[in-house]
Homo-oligomer: 398 residues x 2
């Protein structure tokens, strides 16, 4: 039985360095990437369509075979899944964070970056019921968390209560008539939270008390076909970042917790690689995710991104090669260091699998892949290609 | 703030010359095109889809980011905009031309190519109201003009009144029940015009009197989102041909009048290039159009097309390169000289912008671009690519 690892290097694609004219992939000597390019085929992948700049949430859904036009629930529900919360159809979910409110205005949007342990202690105080609607909060790291509203007739067509700037008042506004109830409930919740948190024991002595919860990225929970049913594959996710685990959970992909998988530059690539090989024993498909290249791109840290690619090349690829699975390597989008932001530029893709066509290319970078044998594909083509490679594609017609 | 010039060389693409096996782009030595190809990336663009032969109106709408299936109002309204007429929603507009009617039949479809000044004198006589419907005519060059019908319940689902051949009677027929009123009005209009023009002073002594107006390409005026709102870009158009200015006006793109921009082979490329650089000062985006390559293609004039490309290379490209803007060069479709008509063959495209990926190609022609790093794209991809290059693309998802 053939199996596959889809390895997504977040923010992989880049633009030429203004001085050297080379991208990070071109700058590092990546012997294992080169070897796999020689033994496989490469190309370029446009996640949504040429020039379209995708967020990480939308791009992962698309690459994993779920058209975001149909299945993107907004960032809130995916973050809530990532915080290990359960969602029911009709729930409204948010990204949430502790902030400091003084005299009715926000004075610190991160409540002095409250530590995770202290934030955790506030969870139970925040969980409440207002007018029959449940507010369920979960703290994640530092000031961050997720919030789920559960009740009848809720809508996500509202503004953030997070004003996104200091010295402003947190307020949620409805964007249509149907969402007026939800907005009103959120504003009541904001007041209630302040009343309960402002004199809370945890906040005693804190210069910047965590006395309010700001909400953003509202989305309504929706049902989505399970990955296993959609593709007839048992699937596992190995990722450090909460969002990626949340996306996997949303698609009913098994999320494997790996010690040392941090979702940042200190992540243990060996641990993740070994975990991928292990879970392949009882799964057909592994979605393996490494975040740090994207973070280095956002920071404009060309050297950091280059070094992370070197680490992936040296520490992770040898393990994947030994797994016996088909390996598909790509990114979810480009995050050019010079832009410190996502861009719409195509991302290199590499298909390395026993018995597949070999295009004769020798390197894996943005320029070499322009001439790769896979050509220029779209994110929506990735899952069908993988299914075909591992002989799990269903015939269309007869 | 990054800016862009989209330079459309009308009818750019071609087929191999039957004797030399080379296209016009391959025949001329085009040093500036070569230089920009070396410094940028190339590819091929299929305006609508492979093999589909587009008219210039449809192809420009598509490349400028407006799906013609949704936003093509027909040629008539675009010509009316090009003649600097105002259109209201529901107006029916036509391409119009003076012709000579003798004994109820057309004897010259161009009224002896009446001069523009004489034609202009007939305008006010033709403007009239019939059964509450206004007929507004504007003469443009020689026998050509545009006509707008304004009133209630008009339809464009009618035949041309122009019989397209001499020795036939101009008559407009309705193509469904709803358009019967419009067709009847047009036939009344044709009679009225003849009555008023046949003995008009301008026609005294003319061997071929301009005594009738033939109408074709009916289209109903529709509202379209303004380019500036659609793409969050301030935009200007520099073109000689009326149709291209009309398309720009339809999309609410600022039309810049340039002395010496004629829309034919005698156009001043220097004047157009300089105007493009000037308007970039207060616009984000310039749509620059040169028509003559298409006209030479229609005439089957291979040498003329080749020489026009040489002129563009020598006179226009150096100015564009100096503008500091991202330069995107392509055509709206192919007009192979051997066919003397549009064809569905892909058109070369060149992206030349600071900081973008460079594909290593060295020439710009139909064959070299087959291997270009941009790959094979569609007309609808052009605007998203430009938005991404100048960092004006909105993120999809978060």
């Amino acid at each position: 039985m053939k199996k596959a690892i889809l390895f997504i290097i977040d923010g992989l694609g880049d633009l030429p360095h203004p001085e050297t004219g080379k991208t990070p992939l071109q700058t590092a000597r990546l012997l294992n990437f080169e070897r796999m390019a020689k033994e496989g085929s490469t190309g370029l992948m446009s996640t949504i369509s040429n020039g379209v700049v995708p967020g990480s949430d939308v791009s992962h859904l698309q690459i994993l075979g779920y058209d975001p036009k149909e299945f993107y629930p907004g960032r809130g529900p995916l973050e809530a899944y990532g915080a290990n919360m359960e969602l029911k159809k009709g729930d409204v979910a948010f990204r949430a964070n502790f902030a400091t409110l003084t005299g009715g205005k926000i004075t610190d949007r991160r409540a002095g970056r409250i530590d995770s342990a202290s934030a955790k202690k506030l969870e139970s105080t925040i969980n409440m019921k207002i007018d029959g609607v449940q507010f369920i909060f979960k703290a994640t790291t530092e000031h961050r968390g997720a919030l789920v509203m559960r009740g009848k007739g809720l809508s996500a067509n509202i503004t953030d209560s997070d004003p996104h700037h200091d010295n402003e008042t947190p307020i949620c506004k409805s964007l249509d008539k149907k969402s007026a109830k939800t907005a009103k409930l959120i504003n009541k919740f904001t007041s209630e939270v302040y009343k309960k948190l402002n004199n809370h024991e945890v906040n005693k002595g804190r210069e910047k008390p965590a006395n309010v919860i700001l909400l953003r990225s509202a989305g309504i929970a929706m049902q989505v076909p399970k990955f296993q049913e959609q593709f007839k594959l048992t699937a596992a996710c190995i990722a450090g970042g909460a969002l990626y685990k949340g996306i996997a959970k949303y698609l009913s992909i098994d999320v494997i917790e790996v010690d040392g998988a941090t979702g940042d530059k200190n992540t243990s690539l060996t641990a993740k690689g070994n975990a991928a090989v292990t879970v392949l024993k009882n799964h057909d498909f592994v979605f393996l995710h490494v975040k740090a290249c994207d973070s280095f791109g956002h920071d404009g840290d060309f050297e950091g991104k280059t070094n992370m690619l070197k680490r992936i090349d040296a520490e992770l690829l040898p393990i994947l090669r030994e797994s016996g699975a088909a390996i598909i390597i790509t990114g979810d989008h480009s995050t050019p260091c010079i832009r410190k932001a996502h861009s719409g530029h195509e991302v290199p893709i590499l298909i390395w699998a026993k018995g597949e066509r070999v295009d004769g290319g020798t390197t894996f970078d943005e320029i070499a892949c322009m001439k790769g044998g896979i050509g220029h594909i779209r994110g929506k083509n990735v899952m069908p290609l993988i299914l075909d490679i591992i002989e799990k594609a269903e015939k269309y017609g007869s």
